[in-house]
Amino acid sequence: MNNRREFLKTASSATLAALAAGVPQQAIGSAPRSKWPEAKADSIIILWMGGGMAAPDTFDPKRYVPFEVGVPLEKVISTFPAIDTSVDGIKITEGLENIAKVMDRGTLIRSHKVADLGHILHSRHQYHWHTGYEPPLTVAAPHLGSWIAKSLGPRNPAVPPFIDVGQVMNAGGETEALKAFHTAGFLGSEHGPFMIPNPDLAAKAVQPPAGMDVTRFSNRYKAFAKLAETSPIARHGSSFQRDSLLRSMDNAYRILGDKKAAQAFDISLEDKDSFEKYDTGQFGRGCLLARRLVEAGARFTEVTTGYYPFKKWDTHENGHTTLRQMKKEIDRPIAQLILDLETRGLLDRTLVVLASEFSRDMIIEGVPGSSARDQSRAKTDVLKEMKHYGQHRHFTGSGSVLMFGGGIKKGFLYGETADERPLLVTKNPVTIPDLHATMFHALGIPADHNYEIEKRPFYLTKDGKGKPILDLFA
């Protein structure tokens, strides 16, 4: 018994995680193919605009035509006017004034090109973006957060290495598909997401269950440990299964028992002024939570506006009005997150990535030539009422991505799209594998890093082929 305790005191958390994890192993004979690049970032925050964020109405302004009855749809590309940012030559759209101010801290990619999967299904595209693989697959693909948790382990053993904030697993007919990629897949559930559907209740996730005070909670665990030691079974000496079980409990209580980490989860402890700067809604408070978690030592945190069919960014009608609201929700907190990380000296070692499964367009569904079915709920050729005004079709031909920190260039614009429909990428396309490879590169992981499943290597980027875009790094 003492041996285990001693071992726990001396072994690093990464070792413990590795021991608890066991298989799968790094693929035999294939590791490491590439050298591990020097890490520029220790943490990563994904800001996920679930539902398809329309680039022409956010970060890629095109011809703006205000709403007016009788205007043909084809005349309008953007429904918001462009505004200046803190970087000469980079304009974004009205409603994002705060992000515009911090544009000099990061890079805007306008040429993110996702796959056309023939039929628009948000969850399927989200699955693709979050795992790097298109479903269905023959094995369960791990989420980005799991890849990273598995490859790097936790930064602080008291903070789970993969935290997912803001997604409730309820998206109607797409619920199961959402669940399908919020998983560590074949990497094993040790590396799965620590789910916090509601950031306001994040503290609960690391607190005793409702109705149980800290003293009772801790006494209960002490009694558990005491009984585990005195159990007649323990007299058989150490055993792999039993030790693994007790170790998992130790790991859990390291998270549950760490006061500092527990406070990081509790956004109600944030200074009032600061809290208000983030308080635009659940997403804003999620950004605040992400900042607090990174301060406490989080490795991978995703904050999502949440994917709920036909809601939020998923505008099938009335897009302009809805986006005005969405921008209010994201603009201040994202800018504040960047500024706070910078003030705390954390931005250099934290990569922040804003992305979405695809963009939207007023007219084109999918990409030109795609077999995707028109899903607009406000079909018209001419603007007649406000609900016609907005980006009501899913567009996979180009999309915008923001990147801050983690060695990424400051005040930089990458990639271009056409000025007229179709708004396809005209310069420097960035595919999902390349975008992922860039993120992995910042974290010091080679894009062809892999683990073996069913005797074959499974790569962090599809087939190990993602290429980091080195131009993006300062």
Binding site: A21, E174, A223, L227, T230, M249, L256, A372, R456, G464
Partner: protein
């Protein structure tokens, strides 16, 4: 025809059947080097005499079997094509590298360089068109025999009559394993109950077993458990739901509306003969029965290796044949001998018309006629209707000559009791069993006894081997390093653990008043079960992750679902008018089938206090259920 057409290049690294073409080799050599090589006069070369030994000696260590350094493998002519252009040695990287004068890039990178004569042989061989005997592979993949095998049952030694033990006596002798004494009644009974019906025994059930002086009581209790059709079904349904990816909740957009659930329940309750069971799934007579081969259809374009017919081929091969066709459904496999053609032929059995072969998701224009994976067993008529073809497939699968069909399921059952298969992994039945006589005897005996799963379950669980003390699993152990010494210590499955907890709750009331709770194997998947390892069932799962994880420990400690259940169980016990001492005594009896030790009593009493509240009792319940003694199956 020798080998395959040029251009059918195969990729070593495709992880998920979604590949895009060959990787460029890492090293490039300038032409100048080649010109510097003295060229020997061309002469006809003989693959077997000149080339095979040369490649074997010089290249195979790093470039054959599972090894493919630099993404290059000499396994087959197809894989050779990546670095050798038939008829063009000068343009072949293979030649350039073996002939290079730069020691940093010259191949082989280890050991002596090839002699000029050897280089000339390779050159000529390439220039003459890369001759390759049909079907030859450097990989030497093992193919397990297909036919059932008659194995003589060894004579009785040491008084052990069970067939398993009769085989293991000589195995133990050979391996120098000193067979340990069987475990006590308590440990045995807990094993048998949880393994056969998924519930731990109650103290009453244990008492009557312990008091039974009949030497045949082990056989008797196993018989009784197996005869409990309802409980048997409620436990084993999870095993089959995992394998057939039968989810109780809706899967995906466009998904099959039928579920196997009712058919599975009825089949398990009736202990339907396994050949008939499989036959009905392969050659379905209802939408419900078709749910397994109809698969999951996602909206939109899917990779050609994931169309429903190919899913059916992959899943049927995996579940019923322990055969991995996943790689070979995108390109010729690099983990076994299976080819793309064979996969498409098998998938075409499930299709309305012959399917067009796609390589790495690109159409080839070739249609592939339906055929069974083991043509030596018989034919599926490619011209017959789909219904006829499926019926022929089901006949071929379940016919007596297909010994593999029985071996696969027997191995899975063995693995579920003993924690590890006779063959591992259980889905790779071409691997060597650690005791092929035992496997073959059991498989044949199973088939001869009407494919009765309960028959074989009975043999396994009444063996002395099943009653041996548990052995700890060794992570990442290689098959050749494994020696059977007893069952492995297992962690309870999500359903077993939570059923055990529910049963503990019911036990607060006297036996007569106990209501039956709904077994977790019949409930919809929730967050707690998911974290405890019950699969989502969007994919075939023939084994579960047995490792305890931090997230599980967290969920069990402060998750809402667990907390609520534990509080309820605590409240039931607290309201049962027991004293503190009685509570401790009875909870230990129910959780562990034993009295608490003095130390345990003290620790438990500390938690309960003198007048235990419902919360105090709930805390003790939690402490007991979380113990390795409860969570693990020793």
């Amino acid at each position: 025809m020798l080998g395959r057409r040029e251009g059918e290049s195969q990729k070593r690294i495709c992880p998920d059947n979604q590949c895009q073409g060959p990787h460029p080799l890492a090293v490039r050599v300038s032409l100048a080097i080649i010109l510097a090589i003295a060229v020997f006069p061309a002469q006809a070369v003989d693959f077997k005499k000149d080339i095979q030994p040369l490649l074997k000696n010089k290249c195979s260590r790093c470039h054959s079997g599972h090894e493919a350094k630099g993404e290059f493998s000499i396994n087959t002519r197809n894989t050779m094509l990546k670095a050798a252009k038939p008829g063009n040695s000068a343009g072949s990287l293979l030649f350039q590298l073996i002939a290079s004068k730069d020691p940093d890039e010259r191949m082989p990178s280890k050991g002596e360089p090839l002699t000029p004569k050897q280089i000339a042989l390779i050159k000529t061989w390439i220039d003459e068109g890369l001759a390759w005997p049909r079907g030859y592979s450097f990989a030497e993949w093992r193919k397990a025999p297909l036919a059932p095998r008659v194995v003589k049952l060894p004579s009785v030694k040491n008084g052990l009559k069970n067939p398993v033990d009769r085989f293991l006596q000589s195995y133990f002798d050979k391996k120098g394993v000193k067979q340990k004494k069987p475990v006590d009644d308590r440990t045995f009974l807990r094993r048998a109950y949880l393994d056969l019906i998924g519930l731990p025994p109650t103290p009453e059930q244990y008492r009557s077993f312990a008091e039974d002086k009949d030497l045949a009581k082990y056989e008797k209790v196993v018989d009784t458990l197996l005869a409990n059709d309802e409980h048997y079904m409620q436990h084993w349904i999870s095993f089959w739901n995992d394998a057939f990816r039968n989810s109780y909740t809706r899967q995906y957009h466009g998904g099959n509306k039928y579920r196997l659930t009712n058919w599975l329940k009825a089949s398990l309750k009736a202990n339907k003969p396994y050949d008939q069971f499989a036959h009905e799934l392969l050659s379905p007579n209802s939408g419900e029965q078709a749910a397994f081969i109809d698969g999951i259809k996602w909206r939109g374009t899917v990779n050609s290796s994931q169309v429903v017919e190919m899913q059916a081929a992959q899943n049927v091969a995996q579940v019923f044949l322990g055969l991995n066709l996943k790689c070979a459904s995108c390109h010729d496999s690099f983990i076994n001998d299976w080819t793309l053609d064979q996969s498409y032929a098998f998938a075409s059995v499930f299709a309305n018309a012959p399917m067009e072969k796609h390589r790495c998701d690109k159409p080839t224009g070739n249609k592939v006629a339906a055929a069974f994976v083991y043509p030596e067993l018989g034919k599926v008529d490619p011209k017959a209707s789909r219904k006829m073809r499926l019926n022929q497939l089901a006949d071929l699968m379940t016919k007596k000559e297909n010994g593999r069909f029985s071996r696969v399921i027997i191995n899975r059952i063995w693995a579920s009791f003993f924690g590890r298969g006779l063959v591992e992994p259980v889905d790779e039945m071409d691997n060597h069993p650690w005791n092929s006589d035992l496997l073959d005897w059991l498989a044949r005996d199973f088939a001869a006894n009407g494919h009765d799963l309960k028959h074989t379950m009975g043999i396994l669980t009444t063996s002395q081997a099943y009653r041996l003390p548990t052995v700890e699993p060794v992570p990442n152990q290689k098959a050749e390093d494994f020696t059977f010494k007893g069952p492995l210590t297992k962690r309870l499955r999500a359903e077993q653990l939570l059923d055990g907890l529910a049963q503990l709750g019911e036990a607060a009331a006297p036996p007569a008043k106990r209501p039956a709770f709904q077994r977790h194997g019949l409930r919809n998947l929730d967050r707690l079960m998911r974290i405890l390892g019950r699969p989502k069932r969007d994919q075939v799962a023939t084994s579960r992750d047995n490792r305890p994880t931090t997230l599980q420990a967290l969920e069990l400690s402060n998750g809402d679902i667990m907390h609520k259940v534990v509080q309820n169980v605590g409240a039931k016990w607290a309201s049962s008018k027991r004293t503190s001492d009685q509570l401790i005594e009875d909870l230990f009896q129910n959780a562990f089938l034993r009295k608490p030790t003095q130390d345990e009593k003290m620790a438990a009493a500390g938690l309960l206090g003198e007048k235990p509240s419902a919360a105090n009792v709930a805390d003790l319940v939690w402490v007991l259920v979380l113990q390795p003694e409860f969570q693990l199956l020793y």
